[in-house]
Point group: C2
Chain length 228, copies 2
């Protein structure tokens, strides 16, 4: 499927945790999470399934690993810059990473052993918010709000039936189930807004992010005080 699948030649690179995890991400990117099995992964690596168990105790450990790889792809906010620009850059990056690897969103829900990249990521965001002058309590409020939005937006984007260049027939078959009598507002919104040529759901991200950054800005301007 990727590269040259069936190369079980003698001169191949030996296995390693890193090589397995990178391949696992590629497999999931290509065919979704359901296509990532110990057997498909082994085949892609030119190896027998059991070989993987020499590097990972089970599949769960591989899933933990690729979630951490995904976190590692997100840009960290740097301590040097202005908080708003840094937090914004990180949010935009997180969203685009989750768009590339939309299978990762559902995995994040079930992982309970965060890896080093995940921890470093959270540490950097918390540090930036604290550095901007927010109290611990306000930092918690801000981070929960910000990341709920980022993850939630990623879910919505992944769930979109009419994604990047879906065939019009799919859109039509969905629209056909929308009876204007039963769902008047849904039909109005779909036909006059969401399905209009110019509409791009992705732009809702910038809107929501700006709104949230404005909220944080007011929280920071107000100092460490009580809830607004």
């Amino acid at each position: 499927m990727l590269k040259e699948a069936g190369d079980s030649r003698e001169d191949r690179v030996p296995l390693s945790r890193e090589r397995v995890l990178n391949c696992a991400v590629a497999v999931a990117d290509g065919g979704g999470l359901s296509s990532l099995t110990m057997r498909s992964l082994a085949k892609e690596l030119g190896v027998k399934p059991m070989a993987l168990y020499h590097y990972f105790t089970n599949k769960d450990e591989i899933l933990d690993g690729i979630v951490d790889l995904v976190f590692g792809e997100m840009e960290l906010p740097s301590a040097g810059g202005h908080w708003r620009e840094e937090i914004s850059r990180r949010a935009v990056s997180a969203r685009s990473v989750l768009r590339r690897h939309s299978w990762a969103i559902v995995l994040m829900e079930s992982r309970s052993r965060p890896g080093p990249a995940t921890l470093r990521h959270h540490d950097a965001v918390l540090g930036t918010l604290r550095g901007a002058g927010l109290s611990l309590a306000m930092t918690g409020h801000a981070y929960a709000l910000l990341d709920a939005f980022v993850y939630g937006f990623a879910i919505q984007e992944a769930a979109l039936p009419f994604d990047r260049g879906t065939a019009p027939e799919v859109t039509a078959s969905i629209a056909a189930r929308f009876s204007p009598e039963a769902y008047p507002h849904l039909v109005e919104f779909a036909t006059e807004r969401a399905l209009q040529p110019g509409y791009d759901f992705g732009e809702e991200f910038e809107f929501g992010l700006d709104v949230i950054l404005d909220v944080l800005e007011r929280m920071i301007a107000r100092g460490n005080g009580d809830d607004p």
Copy 2:
């Protein structure tokens, strides 16, 4: 597992789509999505796996069905009341439903055939926002922001390692991996805030929701104008 599992008596209620779906929700609630298999579901219903295929063409159709059941559990905003109270009540209800059925969050990402309860739900929310005076474009902004927050918060809650009454040993084993030198802000936040006795992550929901409702209120007060 639930009720009387092994009752394959002659006097049992005949199968139906509704009965299968309700049972499927119960199985997923009890043992997570991975425990919901055609075989486990059939056993719970006191029937052979193949019987299910008389009511559903495949497992995907069952998953579509239970997602719609979950949407059906969420309170709809009523057209009569004040928008803020209605939208707030609906958001609180959606969150608590997703907490009860946290397996549903990941399913929502992959379903592309929304059922009637799902459509009715979206229609009611859109209608409430439109009724409050928002333009179509603003309604789109508002709904994306609101639901990204609701779904994203649900994901965060589901991912919490220290959920409702997790054993302290689990918390400790996670905390042990937090080196204060490597992750100073994370350790600070965990020890001085998140792991404090009084802290309840759920309260971040009310904070975020109020903030978003305030934003909508300003959008509405400003009329149908441009982006803020």
